[in-house]
């Protein structure tokens, strides 16, 4: 088997997707790329099934909210257990239209990870077989991990965060 490392994967992605995969970076040795929601399933499938990439294991799906740029980043961590390398794929979607295709077509394990991401960030995974809240109660009408929701009641006067240096 050919040696697979970060640079060979970067090259493969560049050949196949060109400018659709951008923002290539390697913080702490972990290859990180950005892509768009139009091609995310294709990129994931390519990474999973191509001989030279072989990221067959879905480690995690989560999201990050960036209110300053009005974006939510959906973050996928994939793992190639044979060559012991990981890749992080990010997709930035607008917070007003948080819709992205589901990865459950590739991994059944994505089911609950996407439900959790939906529950906390309101990201709607199109084509998900069972997109319900998972940890919070069904009646909750907010997605609590979005940054506009404070941890505690902001009207409390007895516990100001600045006194604690937070």
């Amino acid at each position: 088997m050919a040696d697979i490392n970060n640079s060979s994967v970067i090259q493969l992605l560049a050949e196949r997707f060109g400018a659709k995969v951008s923002g290539v970076n390697e913080p702490y040795g972990l290859l990180t790329v950005e892509t768009t929601k139009d091609v995310i399933v294709e990129v994931l499938r390519f990474l999973k099934e191509t001989e030279g990439a072989n990221f067959a294991f879905l480690t995690d799906i989560t999201a990050v909210h960036y209110p300053d740029t009005k974006h939510i980043a959906v973050v996928y961590h994939l793992h190639n257990m044979v060559n012991k390398i990981r890749i992080r794929v990010k997709v930035f979607i607008h917070e007003q239209t948080p819709v992205i295709p589901t990865a459950t077509v590739l991994w059944n394990g994505a089911n609950w990870m996407e439900r959790e991401t939906y529950d906390f960030f309101g990201v709607k995974f199109e084509g998900h077989p069972d997109l319900r809240r998972i940890l919070n109660m069904d009646e909750l009408n907010v997605h609590p991990m979005l940054k506009q929701y404070p941890l505690e009641d902001p009207n409390r006067v007895d516990k100001k965060d600045e006194y604690f240096g937070r």
Binding site: Y28, D60, H65, N108, W112, N136, M137, P144, R166
Partner: protein, 404 residues
């Protein structure tokens, strides 16, 4: 959907299926989570898992806490092996800050983590035995969990939610009593474990109940992102300690046991063998510590490691550092880091995004129990109810890790 209503209705008078609410508080579930099962006689036709009963919003809370205050949150993930979570978190922050800890700290950490792994596996394996009706074995081995807790108590003062260690090392050195207790444990535990194995490994009743039950192929396991002993029982030799060695695990000599059929019996055997490997790892670590300078228990990182209290009262610099750490005047670099450790149930990952402040911008826990459990309802289809119960025990689902 209303939580108080069963997912299935029994309105159809022709239906011969029975709806059974297994949980949220049921002695057989060993934790607070619910499965609504539809039964045909004793056989499960379909099931729906409902989780989130002890969700505590740790990821949200973590966004408002400085790094050293997040350690107690990680305790409460997999509370059967808190030290692994603690060490995983410390190592994540150390990776973020590029801190290298002394070798002796690595070895001390390995001792604590392997003790935690043993206590985690003791719980799982004795409970499989308990659920198949073997109460004796449960009582036999469970006392060693108590001995492990006594060791924790000697190291950090706490038993269950340990909060062991600090960023950069430990809050204090292991004392002589701790080492004596570890040595005593290493002498007594193998005897009990051998006895435990002799009671179960070739036990006809136990094998009949567990072998060939809930078989999982490696393909299925990888498809559902399983990790840890469950994945290894299917035959995939993935162990984070070997695949991406952290904490000097690469210097140690140990084996990664794998199963063949992924059934409950294989999971039991894999966990048992891992306990043997852990005992050997602790012995090796104790041996290695002898060659390291004594009394070293933390790295020299005054910006992040709280100084000892007596120094704070008597020493100007220590006072300044103490003040700066507690009042949050030291910022961590702007970066993004993923660090994984081999937890009791599988790959425990910490995905930390820092925007330059003292609290994480975002912290996500990759919780193995949560991810492993997603297959449970699907697996149970077609299974006998009594098999589904021991299947759940053998997956070692810890509610704290399930719900975060």
């Amino acid at each position: 959907m209303n939580h108080n209503q069963p997912v299935y209705t029994d309105n159809d008078p022709q239906s011969e299926l029975v709806t059974l609410n297994l949980g949220p508080t049921h002695p057989a579930t060993h934790g607070v989570f619910q499965n609504v099962l539809q039964l045909d006689g004793e056989r499960i036709v379909s099931g729906v898992s409902t989780i989130g009963y002890i969700h505590r919003a740790f990821e949200k809370i973590a966004e408002h806490r400085p790094f050293y205050q997040i350690t107690p949150l990680t305790d409460r993930l997999n509370y059967c092996s808190s030290p692994i979570n603690n060490m995983g978190w410390h190592m994540t922050v150390e990776k973020l800050l590029n801190i290298t800890v002394p070798k002796r700290v690595d070895y001390l950490r390995i001792i604590v983590m392997e003790l935690a792994r043993i206590s985690d596996h003791i719980i799982c394996n004795t409970i499989i035995a308990q659920d198949t009706g073997a109460t004796t074995t449960f009582l036999y081995l469970f006392q060693f969990r108590e001995h492990i807790y006594e060791i924790y108590e000697e190291i950090c003062g706490a038993r269950l939610t340990t909060n062991i260690g600090r960023i950069g090392g430990f809050e204090r050195d292991f004392n002589d009593i701790a080492f004596a207790k570890i040595n005593k444990f290493l002498k007594e535990f193998p005897v009990a474990l051998r006895e435990f194995e002799s009671l179960l490994n070739r036990n006809r009743i136990f094998i009949d109940r567990t072998a060939g039950v809930a078989c999982v192929t490696p393909e299925q396991a990888l498809d559902y992102s399983w990790s840890g002993p469950l994945l290894r029982a299917t035959g995939v030799d993935y162990d984070v300690r070997v695949s991406e060695p952290y904490c000097s695990y690469d210097e140690f000599d140990f084996e990664v046991p794998v199963g063949t059929s992924g059934d409950i019996y294989d999971r039991y055997l894999v966990r048992n063998e891992e306990m043997w490997q852990s005992v050997s790892l602790i012995e090796q670590a104790l041996e290695k510590i002898k060659h390291e300078p004594a009394g070293v228990f933390h790295a020299d990182v005054p910006d992040f490691y709280l100084p000892a209290k007596e120094e704070v009262y008597n020493n100007m610099e220590a006072l300044i550092y103490h003040f700066k750490i507690v009042m949050g005047e030291i910022d961590a670099p702007k970066a993004e880091v993923y660090h994984a450790v081999e937890g009791g149930n599988g790959e425990l990952g910490f995905y930390l995004i820092n925007d330059g402040g003292r609290t994480p911008y975002r912290l996500h826990f990759r919780r193995p129990s949560f991810i492993n459990y997603s297959m449970y309802a699907k697996m149970s289809e077609g299974m006998l109810l009594s098999d589904a119960i021991i299947n759940m025990s053998s997956m070692n689902i810890i509610a704290g890790e399930l719900d975060a």
